[in-house]
Symmetry: C2
Subunit: 282 residues, 2 copies
């Protein structure tokens, strides 16, 4: 069992939460109160982290939102990562992959240089493009399987000659290629019937489930269908639904309160699903 | 016609070369003479660029090799990009793509912030994941189609229910989604029979062809099969085969001479294919 997987599962059990907070932090969307600070995005992210720490099992940093501003943005990413509590899983949502010698470099970037616990990768180029990530036995590697966006119909859901859709073949292969339980997949929350089937076929993989909230997936359904038999091994990512609460905020504390309320509400929705016996007793 | 495509085709015709020099610059592999310089990778890249400028139509920066060293590496990438002559096509070999609102951020990073002329992207997530790149009409977007690595058999070459392999469906869709002739694909040089078929099916797309040299593809065959009817719209990438000439170098000039010889030899091999009438007269 990989250390990253153990860490995530320990968080899930102790916080009774599958919540992964997505730090898709767009400088144009963060509240005005942060805009005048010297490093608005870092200040914003660290406020979000403080406000959600008691409810979140993981934090997912979407690299695109940082790369968009070049080195300044990536410096913000680096510093924001330092604010992620070490007991929580840190995920680089990077969707990388290339031929083997290049994937080795990406793996080195995210697993060594930045020391993320986990990464998302894209499967199109096949085994040798993913192997360098799986080689890190202590980490978690989430391979795109069936995503929540409309474009999933274009290739992911296309039937192969044997009748099964492409994403099912990806699923089979990831189960073969992962080692030491460091393999995971990304499955969109908008695909609940497929999520159920996928979990049945892959009882051993760790699931990262985005698409709740802005994209329309159901939190409760995703939680119930995504967990493994031990009611763990799944993370449900919420980004915009947590980090951009409505309203104007006069202080950082007010903002944190609004974010904490959002996170708590989500955690409470999941609590009864992650720990059903407690729920019955409550 | 996109400005980037015009620029590349102008270079191809005027230099009689399809050569794209891949700056996969690994600090551990660059000659000792650069190691003691303040910014070894930038010094190395600028020497490679000086030595190849008369033969190269394009330069491809493999983002993984820079990300591997975090901000320092990305600063090197940024400075190296400044050394790419503005008449040559600059390609970010980034293999990015994500849901629409995230791909918009990646497109902004590479097309606006760093101002590359072109990018490579991964197709797995479908249309809305690629659209934000195609929205830049003046750029060139190379979608992974059939790659040169062994893993291409795992998914890319899998037959769909209609009988055609997945990469052919990707090809069809890229032809639909690209606009203003800003669409391109990546096809590995190791797949020459498929390359011929793909060019027949997609006479209008721009081809980026890696896999010559270290990966074993044939330069002449790839050149002949990859070009369009006007004997343009194809770039053949060579990385390790140019940037790491064998031997010890006592000076930067000696290194540049060795690199220039490699590049000239490749350009000469292609010249007769790009301009066959000249070749007949020679």
């Amino acid at each position: 069992m990989s250390a990253a997987r153990e860490k995530a599962n320990h968080q899930i059990s102790s916080k009774r939460s599958l919540l992964c907070v997505g730090l898709d932090s767009d400088p144009l969307k963060i509240p005005r109160i942060f805009q005048s600070m010297p490093r608005p995005v870092v200040a914003f992210n660290s406020a979000v982290i403080r406000a959600t720490r008691s409810c979140a099992a993981a934090y997912k940093i979407n690299t695109a939102f940082y790369e968009a501003r070049g080195l300044d943005g990536l410096r913000d990413m680096e510093e924001s990562l330092e604010h992620v509590p070490c007991e929580c899983l840190s995920i680089a949502d990077a969707k990388r992959a290339d031929i083997g010698n290049t994937s080795r470099m990406y793996a080195r970037a995210f697993f060594e240089h930045w020391n993320f616990d986990a990464i998302t990768v894209a499967p199109y180029m096949g085994e040798d493009s993913l192997e360098p990530f799986f080689a890190y036995e202590e980490k978690l590697v989430f391979v795109l399987c069936l995503t929540s966006n409309p474009g999933s119909a274009d290739f992911e859901e296309q039937a192969l000659s044997g009748g099964q859709p492409l994403y099912r073949r990806v699923l089979e292969r990831v189960r073969q290629w992962g080692r030491s339980a460091n393999a995971g997949i990304v499955v969109g929350a908008t695909k609940s019937s497929e999520l159920e089937l996928i979990r049945r076929e892959a009882p051993d993989l760790f699931f990262l489930i985005p698409g709740v909230g802005a994209q329309g997936g159901s939190l409760k359904e995703s939680a119930a269908l995504g967990m493994d038999a031990q009611r763990r091994s799944a993370l449900i990512n919420v980004s915009r639904g947590i980090i951009y609460p409505e309203g104007e905020f006069g202080s950082v504390e007010e903002f944190e309160l609004a974010v904490a309320r959002k996170a708590s509400a989500l955690q409470e929705e999941m609590e009864g699903i992650v720990c059903p016996s407690d729920d019955g007793a409550a």
